[in-house]
């Protein structure tokens, strides 16, 4: 199994006709993902064509979901319109909305998060690489790829990966795959200070998933979400967990690329988070090159088989 998405999940793409959305729709189709609909207001009735694939385009998410049975959306809509796109997905009753868009105003996300509170739609992102549940084919073909991650570096298996950063996630996944350790699902929750799904939300899902045997938790400076996840792991999780925090050398008060990666107080530094990881029994990777090995150490200590 996996979390949040399976190879059978039907997805729709909001912003399918934009350059960015179109490019990654093609890559997802090539990966074998069930992309069943696209949404671009004003272009309903047209088709998105790629090789032998013909994906119908709708004017609204509600129309697309009703006609195709799509339950998950990938959002590639430009920042000024992205908040509206997320709310439209929630209003249509989707199970999951994945906002890839980078650069959404924080005030918009504050309002969106409040509006979605208590609703049935889960938001992942924004400013995230999305999710991958690898398939069983060559280079993990046949999986569900939502967003912009490279599908081929994955391998179907039993490790869950959750991270705020895109390329750092790929780094971890690639190391695992090279060592012949597969993944159940990889989730990029995004680098913004206000996001839909937290590290802890994903950790809870991995913990409840019998097919996930171990986890990699990758965080950054800024905020206290990783600390919250670590404390929960200590109290509730028996599975091996490896962790890494980026930004140990980042100066205070400077935003490091991600809007959320900024050190403000005493407890959101890399050193503080790493100390909490250790205290909570998480095997800390000294460098990103050590991520897969750190998980192997944690698994060995708990007598857990990862592959």
């Amino acid at each position: 199994m996996s979390i949040l998405i399976t190879p059978a999940t039907k997805i729709l793409i909001q912003g399918i006709t934009g350059e960015f959305g179109a490019r990654h729709t093609r890559l997802s189709l090539d990966y074998g993902t069930q992309v069943v609909a696209g949404v671009t207001p004003g272009k309903g009735g047209q088709w998105f064509e790629h090789g032998t694939h013909r994906v119908p385009i709708f004017n609204s998410v509600a129309d697309a979901a009703r006609a195709t049975g799509a339950t998950v959306s990938a959002i590639f809509v430009p920042p000024p319109f992205a908040a509206d796109a997320i709310l439209e997905g929630a209003d249509a009753g989707l199970e999951l909305a994945v906002a890839i868009t980078e650069g959404i105003p924080i005030r918009d996300m504050v309002r969106v998060k409040r509006a979605m509170q208590g609703g049935s739609t889960r938001l992942v992102g924004p400013n995230c690489p999305g999710l991958v549940t690898p398939g069983t084919g060559k280079d993990s073909f046949g999986g569900c790829r939502i967003g912009i991650a490279p599908g081929y570096i994955h391998k179907k298996g039993h490790v869950g990966v959750v991270s705020r950063s895109g390329t750092l996630t790929y780094e971890a996944v690639y190391q695992l795959t090279v060592k012949n350790i597969g993944q159940s699902t990889c989730v990029g929750i995004g680098g913004d200070p206000v996001n839909g799904t937290s590290h802890l939300d994903v950790i809870k899902l991995f913990n409840a998933d019998p097919e996930t045997h171990g986890m990699i938790l990758i965080g950054e400076i800024g905020g206290t979400a990783e600390v919250e996840a670590a404390r929960w792991i200590k109290a509730n999780c028996q599975k091996p967990v490896a962790g890494f925090i980026a930004g140990a050398t980042a100066p205070a008060g400077r935003r490091m690329g991600h809007a959320g990666a900024i050190v403000g107080g005493e407890e959101d530094t890399a050193a503080a988070k790493i100390a909490v990881f250790r205290e909570c029994g998480i095997e800390v990777a000294a460098t990103p090159s050590d991520l897969a090995d750190a998980l192997l150490r944690a698994a060995k200590a708990r007598g857990v088989t990862l592959s």
């Binding site: 105003p105 924080i106 409040r114 509006a115 680098g191 930004g247 140990a248 490091m256 460098t287 090159s289």
Partner: protein
């Protein structure tokens, strides 16, 4: 994006947040006209730079204090003359300091008591939080650490906005009564509107003061905006002061590169913010010091790589370069071709270690090897970091 105190106060006035009367000047002639617009009497002279600790700062010519109280306007004129175009060093500027290009004069207010007031995003709740304290004019971090009971926090529900009962709670926590309470309530409400309407990242008033006449005033003002929201506030973008930014960072932003200068000697060029941060970390881990944060983003085109190399080499401290690219979707060979072209164009003579991984990596490595350039290939991040640290040692 940060703005100066005088700009923040003009914004406050627009939203009905009372501030002391003031006038800004950027030249000797303007110092006179600015002062002429203010009444005779005690005057504050305030250096305008985007850094804290101005009052305790020292100018590079030895003159002490970037914020001064003067009994008369004549004194203020003399002091301002010493500050203007002088370089101020504070705990936040670094040893190079900042050139003071604007002076702000304000009428010196009679202070009855000082308070603290700020509005910013609370990440844990994803809501705006208003932070208030009876301990104003001091470092709020110290108050939060030593006497947390003296800090009141109110979390605003974005669906409803700031509620009246919350304003009353804040006013009561600061101990206001009578006319002061009424004035403070109005100020807090207007400050929240200012924060919300301008897409501010933070508004901070330290100190907020009361005067013997019962006024409540923002004596200082620190405002920063959410960069992601600037597209809908052209009037705020106009307040950007490029003099306050690193020229290399400005140049980088033209090529959609995210660059931040640091004080080490190993430059890095990376795709992705998380990977870029951890590349700096791994350099430090193996005993080196990073010269910068540089995220070329997901694209990393040839033009971007050339621009990135030029920016990196503009830093005289740089003794070596580490390129760390995980080409997930993009073709590593395209990146390798870009690196080779960039190195040839800028005539690089420093040690260069390149770590490429991902899509079509074999072709990328072959391109680097066939280029005839004296670059070193790294297999993993750890391997590459160790190699560059050794080469610059």
């Amino acid at each position: 994006m940060n703005i100066h105190e005088y700009q923040a106060k003009a914004l406050f006035e627009k939203f009905g947040v009372p501030v002391p009367r003031g006038a800004a000047a950027t030249s000797a002639a303007e110092l006179d006209t600015a002062l002429a617009s203010l009444p005779e009497g005690p005057t504050m002279v305030k250096s305008q730079i985007h850094a804290g600790g101005r009052g305790k700062g020292t100018f590079t010519d030895g003159f002490k204090g970037g914020v001064k109280f003067c009994k008369t306007k004549a004194d203020a004129r003399e002091i301002a003359g010493k500050m203007l175009n002088n370089t101020l060093v504070t705990i936040q500027t670094g040893p190079a300091g900042r050139k003071v290009q604007t002076i702000y004069f304000t009428v010196a207010s009679e202070i009855k008591k000082e308070y603290y007031l700020a509005i910013l995003l609370d990440r844990a709740t994803s809501r705006p939080v208003i932070v208030a304290s009876t301990e104003g004019g001091v470092e709020i971090e110290k108050v939060a650490h030593d006497t947390p009971e003296k800090i009141t926090k109110v979390f605003v529900d974005p669906a409803y906005g700031l509620a009246d009962f919350q304003v009353r709670e804040l006013v009561a926590s600061l101990g206001f009564a009578g006319a002061e309470a009424k004035n403070a309530a109005k100020l807090i409400r207007n400050l929240y509107t200012c924060y919300w309407e301008t897409d501010a990242a933070m508004v901070e008033v330290n100190p907020l003061i009361t005067t013997p006449a019962g006024e409540v005033l923002a004596l200082d003002a620190k405002v920063s905006f959410d960069d992601n929201a600037l597209f809908r506030h052209p009037e705020l973008v106009a307040l950007r002061d490029l003099n306050e930014e690193d020229p290399k960072e400005i140049e980088a932003s033209k090529y959609s590169l995210s660059y931040i200068a640091l004080d080490g000697n190993i430059a890095c060029l990376v795709n992705g913010a998380g990977l870029a941060m951890s590349t700096m970390d791994i350099i430090k881990h193996y005993g080196g010091t990073p010269a910068n944060f540089l995220d070329v983003g997901g694209g990393a085109s040839k033009d971007q790589v050339i621009a990135a190399f030029k920016i990196i080499l503009g830093d005289p401290n740089v003794k070596g370069i580490l390129v760390n690219i995980f080409g997930g979707i993009m073709d590593c060979n395209v990146i390798a071709t870009g690196i080779v072209a960039a190195v040839k164009e800028v005539g690089l003579s420093l040690p260069l270690v390149v770590r490429l991984e991902g899509n079509n990596v074999a072709a990328g490595k072959a391109t680097l090897a066939a280029s005839g350039l004296a670059l070193v290939s790294g297999d993993t991040m750890a391997d590459a970091a160790q190699k560059i640290v050794k080469l610059v040692a």
